[in-house]
Every structure is written in C-alpha cells, then in structure tokens.
C-alpha cells in the first residue's frame, strides 16, 4: 500500500480514502436550489449571520515566470496589499464545489 506520511506522523494515510469522496456529498448532489419557504424554520446556527463586504480584488495576473501575482504594470502585487478581509472558498480536497467558505484576515 502506498502511503503519504506527514512529518512526525506515525500513522499511514491511504491517499485514495479521501473523506470528501466517502462522506461529504457535494452540494450538487443535494438537488437543484429552490426558493426558501417563509414557513421553514431558519437553521439554528444561521440565526445570527452578519453581512460583510467582500473585498475588492485588485487587477492582477499571475506572472508565470516569477510565479507571483503582478499588477498590470508587472510589479509584484504583494507589497501593495493593504490589510483587508479575504474570502476564500474552503476546500479540503479540491471538491467541486468547495464545501464551505472561509473568511480570513490576511495581509502580507
């Protein structure tokens, strides 16, 4: 059996036994989206949602040679980044679509 061993880990990991495959059906398998019914109870954990603004992603492209994001003039983007919320789809194993979104406080 092949195994992916991570640092300081003494347990073998079956590389093909992804939990994403075994346990978590993608949202696409849950059927087509439907309009919310006013009579349906709001899931308890969704009662206290706070609306947030998505950050504006600056104009950029990945410089394939340097392998970093650059602005239209070719200057690396990172030093220009200001503190801002970032929103990323959180995917543990490349699920399609990702299982959830993570919002992080990110800057460089």
């Amino acid at each position: 059996m092949t195994a992916a061993l991570t640092r300081d880990t003494d347990h073998e990991v079956d590389p093909l036994a992804s939990h994403g495959m075994k346990f978590a059906p993608g949202v696409r398998e849950l059927g087509d989206p439907v309009e919310a019914e006013p009579t349906a109870p709001t899931p308890f954990g969704l009662r206290w949602l706070t609306p947030v603004e998505r950050p504006t992603v600056p104009e950029y492209r990945l410089d394939g040679e340097r392998q970093v994001a650059v602005d239209p003039s070719g200057a690396p983007l990172a030093p220009q980044m200001k503190k801002d919320w970032t929103t990323t789809d959180y995917s543990t194993d490349g699920e399609d679509p990702p299982s959830s979104e993570e919002f992080g406080w990110e800057e460089v």
Binding site: A4, D8, G20, F44, W48, V52, V108
Partner: protein, 318 residues
C-alpha cells in the same frame, strides 16, 4: 530537490513564500488545481513500484521523484473542460482528483503542509475535540444535536452557552456574503428552538475569557500570539479585527505538549490553533485550523512566519 506550491493565483501569502523560496535558490513550481488539465501538465509513470515524471506549467516544472515538499495552500477545484454534460463533468473531475491527487499522495518522503486527507480529518471538529481532550488539552463542554429538548437539557446544566458552526464561518446567499460568528445565547434566543431540528446544531459552554491566543505552528517553529479583542469582538474577536491587539505570549508547557501531541495525532505539519485563556489562567482549546492564514499575524507582530514556511518547505522531512 524542489517544492510544489498548490495555491490560487491571488494569494499574497503564497506570493511571499514563493518569493522567499526563489530567493533562497529553491526550485519551486506554483500552480492552482484549477490549472489542471488545461495549463498544468502531468506526466507520471509507474515503474518498479515508484512514480517518476513531471508536473509542469508553461514556465516551470518539477520532477516527481525530486519533490521535497508540497504546500497545499487552499487551491481551487480542478477545472472541467467546456462542452461536457453533467455526467462527463463528474467523471473528469473525479479522474483528475484520483489521478493527479493520487500520484502526489503516493510520492514517498514528501512533506505535506498539510496533506489534504489529514485536512479532511481535521475538518471534523468533534473529532478534533475528542483527540484534543485525550492529549491533555481542556475542551469546552459541547452538545451537538437535532433536538431542541436536548439543547434545553444542556442549557439547564450550562446556563451560559454559545452557538457556533462546525464548518467555515462564511456563506453567501443571493450574492451577499455573511459571517456566522460565535454567538452568546440569550434567554430570548432559546425560546424558539424549531431551527435546531433542521440539521446538527452545536451549542457549547461559554468560556469566560481574559484573552485569546492563536498559536501558529509551522514545522518546529511556534508563534503563540495573544489577541486582546476589541470592543466589538468580546464574543468573537473576528467581529472587530481592527480593534484587536496582538502580542507574543508564553505558553504553558502542558499546553505546548498537548498541542504538539494533537498535531502528531492529526498528522498536521502546520496549524493555527485557537485558545481562550480564562481569567484563572486555564487555556481552553477551541480548534486547530489545518490551513491557517498567517500573513496578518506576521504584520501585526513581526514574526517571520513567511520565512518559517519557506524554511519548512525547503527542509522537507530531512
């Protein structure tokens, strides 16, 4: 020896680490899984039980048997060529995952930061909490149920409780982004519990806090950072990040040992572990993130976390 960085194109932290590795003369290939199969190329051959070959982009390539480390930095999903029906889309997605992912996972002697399968394990907080307690860490009493009656029983024993999601705190509905912060439940919140039955609902005892701590561990380098919440973040510091203050803090040896053991048990090479420190000084474990952000903490404290990640990836398992 070389390093593979799997990250999205727009990722300032990945940029910083890639630049640090490049400056150190380490051969790096950075790609997003969404580049596969159109712009990321795989040539993997199994001979005598060992995989060899190349992973390459237009500009860079790394050999499979020369890979020292893989940084699995929240890449996006594999792309699917256009013009396919749903069944064919599922097929090409699954084959990409099992093919590219399977080959990478099969490479011996490669350090993963972190292995996607280990991340998948760690995503289950109930699993984390159980192991954390076994590792000697203090974990809050918790109930997960789809019964409102069970929630009432729990509240009877723990009058001060919070609601928190088990998954990511973010979601989007009708184009609007939302965050679901930890919410301290009031008496009025507990009047109508119909929503408890809609799914697994998690309620946890409220932990009185003196301050919070994010412990970022990157290989052998530890960065425990105290977070003093701002006025708007007393229940969840993330609600008021502008008002939060950051400083280094010493970790109790028992917490250090417990977290190190937890990481070993979860198979995590790096993590961002969250704690609440109670007024009596007890450290209470909340969760260990398997793909934490750290750029914001680096800026706030001056800790060289980018350098730590570059050093970890360059060193690998050696």
């Amino acid at each position: 020896m070389s390093v593979l960085v799997l990250a999205r194109d727009f990722d300032p932290t990945a940029d910083a680490v890639v630049e640090r590795l490049t400056a150190a003369g380490v051969k790096v290939l950075r790609a997003d899984l969404a580049d596969f199969p159109q712009r990321l190329h795989l040539d993997a051959r199994l001979r005598d039980g060992r995989w060899s070959g190349l992973v390459s982009t237009e500009h860079h390539s790394v050999t499979l048997d020369g890979l020292r480390s893989i940084w699995y930095r929240n890449p996006s999903a594999y792309s699917v060529p256009s013009g396919l029906d749903a069944a064919a889309r599922n097929f090409v997605f699954r084959e990409a995952k099992l093919g590219l992912g399977g080959v990478l996972a099969a490479l011996p002697g490669v350090l993963w930061a972190n292995s996607p399968n280990r991340c998948a394990d760690a995503l289950y907080k109930p699993y984390q909490w159980s192991i954390a307690a076994n590792c000697g860490l203090t974990v809050p009493d918790t109930v997960i149920t789809n019964s409102g009656g069970v929630v009432r029983e729990f509240v009877a024993d723990h009058p001060d409780v919070v609601s928190k999601p088990l998954g990511g705190a973010g979601m989007t509905s009708n184009g609007q982004a939302y965050l679901s912060y930890t919410h301290r439940l009031t008496t009025s919140d507990l009047v109508d519990l119909d929503g408890v039955g809609m799914t697994a609902t998690t309620v946890q005892e409220w932990v009185p806090k003196s301050y919070e701590v994010r412990v970022t561990v990157i290989g052998d380098e530890w960065f425990p950072v105290r977070i003093d919440a701002g006025d708007g973040g007393r229940e969840d510091w993330r609600a008021d990040p502008e008002g939060a203050a950051y400083s280094f803090v010493d970790m109790p040896k028992t917490v250090y040992k417990g977290l190190a053991d937890l990481m070993r048990r979860l198979g995590l090479t790096y993590t961002g572990a969250d704690f609440i420190v109670r007024p009596d000084g007890e450290w209470v474990f909340l969760e260990a993130n398997s793909g934490p952000q750290f750029g914001w903490l680096e800026t706030a404290t001056g800790a060289d976390m980018t350098g730590a990640m570059a050093r970890l990836l360059a060193k690998g398992l050696t």
